[in-house]
């Protein structure tokens, strides 16, 4: 049964150092409350997987020294430009970067979702992404003739961390069309969700909400976190806070500036949550 925890901090406590941690893209709700809680608890050696790209979530964790490795198809603050702590960490070789491409991340998670050891995928051949991935293979399509195709090993994250508009007391989490969260929950060993609210009715019993709901079966624990995606947005609830992200991008140009940012906006829990 899904645990109902008191806060994002309780979730952060359950995510171990060294975990392979899958995080959603910024067009889906992101658990920034959970990310800040991980920074506060001083998480270490996390291996981040973006599904399939991310930005501010990785930035905070990398800048705070929580990260050992990143696998991603892209790391960007969007309109706020390059992710400065990510860029700095790459240049200073503080993290191991495994460049990927969006459909490869989706496909490798789908392999894990289906319990198959690998997934074939078109494209990629001739790219340096493939050339630099010694964990990927090119093999022949057994139904074709001289038809090489990339084989991607399944990725099974230890933990997925998501945010959602609502959940219910049975641990069902409504994600709407942000269906990468469904894939993440299916593919991961454990999935944690912060949510804006916990509703009184069962999300699976209402035919309107069930189609956009991850069954509690896949959800390890949930915790309420109002405005838990801020300064990123939640579709239909609140917008991305462009102004705050611009402030971040400005401050995080240097490590000192980043530290000042986290002192003010992350470490003082009351400031953000």
């Amino acid at each position: 049964m899904t645990e109902i925890l008191d806060s994002a901090q309780d979730i952060a406590t359950q995510i171990p150092d060294g975990a392979l941690l899958a995080l959603p893209p910024e067009y889906a709700p992101c658990s920034m409350a959970g990310i800040r809680a991980l920074v506060r608890r001083g998480a270490r050696d996390l291996r981040l997987l973006s599904v399939p790209q991310f930005g501010f979530q990785a930035e905070l964790l990398i800048g705070a020294g929580c990260v050992a490795e990143v696998e991603s198809a892209g790391v960007t603050l969007g309109e706020q430009g390059l992710a400065p702590r990510f860029t700095d960490a790459i240049k200073k070789r503080k993290i191991i970067m495994r460049d990927s491409t969006c459909p490869a991340i989706h496909a490798a998670l789908q392999a894990s979702e289906k319990g198959i050891p690998f997934m074939p995928l078109r494209g990629l051949i001739g790219s340096d992404i493939l050339a630099r991935r010694d964990d990927w293979l090119i093999a022949g399509n057994p139904f074709g003739d001289n038809d090489p195709i990339v084989h991607l090993p399944a990725i099974r994250p230890d933990v997925s961390l998501i945010h959602a508009a609502r959940a219910d007391a049975n641990g069902n989490v409504w994600i709407g069309v942000s269906r990468e969260a469904m894939l993440m929950a299916h593919a991961s060993a454990a999935t944690y969700a912060t949510v804006e609210e916990i509703v009184e009715f069962d999300l699976l019993l209402d035919p309107q909400t069930a189609p956009g709901t991850i069954p509690g079966l896949y959800i390890t624990a949930i915790a309420r976190a109002q405005k838990g995606a801020w300064p990123l947005g939640v579709p239909h609830l609140y917008e991305r806070d462009h102004e705050h992200l611009a402030l971040y991008a400005q401050m995080a140009r240097s490590q000192d500036g980043f530290d000042a940012y986290t002192d003010q906006w992350v470490m003082q829990r009351t400031a953000a949550e």
Partner: protein
Amino acid sequence: MSDARTEEIMIAAIARMLSGLSHVTVGISSPIPGSAALLARELSRGALRVSMLGRTSSPSFTDGGRELFDCAAQGRIDAFFLGGVQIDGQANINLVSIGDPDRPKARFPGSFGSAYLYMIVPRVILFRQEHSPRTLVPKVDYISAPGVSAPNIYRPGGPYALVTGRCVFYFIKENECFRLKSLHPGQSVADIRRETGFVFEIPETEAIPETEAPGAEWLKLIRGPVGDEIREIYPDFAARMFGGA
């Protein structure tokens, strides 16, 4: 003379390449192609379907981030757009890093879906506003996605054109190189030669035409309904281009 900005000339040039298509998709970080796709949709009177990633108020897809890639593989996407930190003469694109990737001089966001979509979508339109020897290079430092492939590689897709702030190139697959198609207002062939780091073809038999600038009606669309729609995803771009929200 048109009062169109360079971005608007690029938008119009790209929109023309989408004429007659059924479905184009726009990825992230693509305000110029996004505007072009929306303009083309307006001009098509709704015959062109435009799917835009990141537009949460009206999702084009309902099966998560993978659907774009699956949809492309099903042959349901006619055109897509890719930029590049560097683009070379064989249409290889680099979205990752400058210098040795293990010790990069500069690091960029990453390849996103390019390594896949470039090989799958029939008409991939490359765009890069900065047209200089720094961006259009003889050989990219990192191949996010290759411009050409060996004959036995499954590749229904590939480069169609390259639209920059100075000109339009078409990609000639048989020759594995770009050919100069049109010059934006104020640009000469000599300008393009000087500012382009790769070798490209110039048709010898004819003068290079000027890229047609958008007329008043098109500009009205670009600055009106197109701008309003693009603002939801790219507020900064929209503010810079079209003024405050």
